[in-house]
């Protein structure tokens, strides 16, 4: 199955979220012995994403911490601006990448 760009980006962000809390996980007593393998998996995933898109992701991440934010009930959960209902229909297909006009983050529809 070919994964869509948006799905790859979400998976990349999910790995980045995980990496941010490795220290906390270890403190709680969880094994994090595969940290180097996780980093390798991140590199492989990043390599499968087009360069311009990856660049956009990294730039947004550096600037806003979260590059992709969920949309719920048409609200961008990054800045709480309501998104036009019309783009939500397409947004849910995960084919096209939409950006919040207010905060600039990429959007992922939850519902």
């Amino acid at each position: 199955m070919v994964k869509k760009d948006l799905e790859l980006l979400v998976s990349l962000q999910d790995i980045d979220l995980m990496a941010e809390e490795v220290g906390e996980m270890e403190k709680l007593g969880f094994s994090v012995s595969g940290y180097s393998e996780l980093k390798k998996a991140r590199e492989e995933l990043a390599a499968s994403i087009s360069k311009p898109l990856l660049f956009r992701y990294e730039r947004l991440r550096a600037k806003l911490k979260r590059a992709i934010v969920p949309v719920k009930n048409d609200i961008c959960l990054g800045c709480f601006l309501r998104q036009p209902t019309s783009i939500g229909v397409k947004g849910r297909e995960d084919e096209e990448i939409f950006t919040c006009e207010n905060c600039g983050r990429m959007l992922y529809w939850l519902d």
Partner: protein, 153 residues
Amino acid sequence: MHRSELAKYFKDNLFVANLKARSKESAIAELLDLFVTEKYIRNRDIVLEMLHQRETLGSTGIGKGVAIPHGRTTAASEVLIAFGKTENGIDFDAIDDKPVHLFFMVIAPPNDEGNVYLPILGSLVTILNEKSNRDKLLKVTTFTDFMALIKGE
């Protein structure tokens, strides 16, 4: 986190007294499917990928027959915990190599209100470290009994 607070993150439709799964892979899938069936999650593949990556970081089988598969994902909107158990233990690459009977799957959004995700994990670890709690959980058959146990009633 207080146990009565922890109890808020469980749901009766995310509770399975007898898991069908016989392998690590299928146990993760079966628990995740509860979230999907109940429409807490739209995109199953994304969350499954995250859970697999989490196991890459290290098995969430924390030993003594317990596993807590967990993670934050951009594809979730609220913190929720699914519970499942099985009499036949499942090989989960646990840190003590023992088969796993008790499963708590914790799914959280990237940023959660009140930052409860880590305290939830901490609270689960504390409860499950106690042998008496594990023994009682192994015998539980209904969600009501389960909740009473979680609350420490």
